[in-house]
């Protein structure tokens, strides 16, 4: 499904030949990864506008990077790593860790569930949100999470465990049965 990432990345670099195949490859990569990446950025940053900005910046950095040859999983992991670094750079430069209030939509039970999850996420630190999202939504292994976040592979297990305990504590009892 995805093109070789190095070919796509090389395509944009100055002096390289800009081919239609490279552009098409990027479009396919973007179609496959942009929505999950946006979801991650939105929940980790707590703001859709920040997610929009950082999504564009992530792909720009990806295109400008001199990445070595990567398969599909590595490309995905690499994109999440860029996105995580951008999130950290942003949180270092300003304090926007607070999640935005979710807009109301949908049926009442769905809405309750959504508000539960959003409220629980609001209580967590950005790093905890990132870990939970990468592990439970993206289904990344501990090694992949370590690569994406820059944390030590050994510490992921304990950090994830703590984040899960904390998140479960904030969710309503009927949603998390322990």
């Amino acid at each position: 499904m995805m093109e070789d990432a190095s070919m796509i990345a090389g395509w944009i670099s100055p002096g390289r030949e800009q081919t239609a195949a490279g552009e098409e490859g990027f479009r396919r990569l973007y179609e496959a990864t942009s929505r999950p990446l946006w979801g991650y950025l939105q929940h980790a940053s707590g703001r859709p506008d920040v997610a929009d900005d950082l999504l564009q910046e992530t792909y720009c950095k990806f295109l400008l990077s001199k990445a070595p040859a990567m398969d599909e999983a590595q490309t995905r992991s690499y994109l999440f790593r860029i996105a995580t670094n951008l999130l950290h750079n942003r949180s270092r430069s300003r304090d926007d860790s607070a999640l935005e209030e979710p807009a109301e939509s949908g049926a009442q039970s769905d809405e309750d569930a959504r508000l539960d999850v959003c409220a629980a996420m609001r209580q967590l630190k950005p790093r905890e949100r990132e870990l939970l999202w990468l592990a439970y939504v993206e289904g990344m292994s501990h090694a992949e999470i370590a690569a994406a976040t820059g944390l030590g592979a050994m510490s992921i297990r304990i950090l994830l465990y703590r984040a899960r305990q904390k998140a479960s504590g904030f969710l309503r009892p009927q949603r998390i049965k322990s």
Partner: protein, 152 residues
């Protein structure tokens, strides 16, 4: 070391994503508090992710490609400007060093000694060459410095 989470947690998450559950894994989740908690949290977050994906409208990749090309041009321009600034600094250092060398030489030696030293054609050529080079550097540097001064 104390066991902090169940070793089957990764398998549970994988099964949740793929929908491929084994009977053993189902039974394990029913009994294991860690896996049950992880499973419910993963389901809640998964639902939230699906909602987010429905409402997400990522920009057209065309604009990202355009922005990347612009950024690539800006980076190339910055690298080129950095090289020019380095050359400008080196030229300024050369002019100052040459000026100091001339002044120091003339101050240290008597005029006659200098004049007698100039009799050799090789020395004369070397001196003239250095002066011509300095003149060219100053001529090239002058408009650049003036432009920089005007820009502030």
């Amino acid at each position: 070391m104390k066991q902090i989470s169940c070793e089957h947690e990764t398998s549970v998450i994988r099964a949740l994503r793929s929908g491929e559950w084994t009977t053993e894994l189902r039974l394990h989740v029913a009994e294991c508090q860690d896996c049950s908690q992880a499973s419910h949290l993963a389901q809640a977050l998964g639902e939230e992710a699906r909602r987010a994906e429905i409402h997400c409208t990522p920009p057209d990749p065309y604009w990202i490609l355009q922005r990347s090309r612009r950024m690539a041009r800006e980076i190339a321009m910055w690298r080129m400007t950095r090289l020019l600034a380095l050359m400008r600094a080196l030229a300024a250092v050369y002019v100052v060093a040459a000026a100091v060398w001339f002044l120091h030489g003339y101050a240290a030696l008597q005029y006659r000694e200098v004049a007698s030293a100039m009799h050799g054609s090789a020395s004369m050529f070397a001196l003239m060459g250095a002066m011509v080079a300095a003149a060219f550097v100053v001529a090239g540097l002058w408009p650049i410095l003036r432009e920089s001064g005007e820009r502030g």
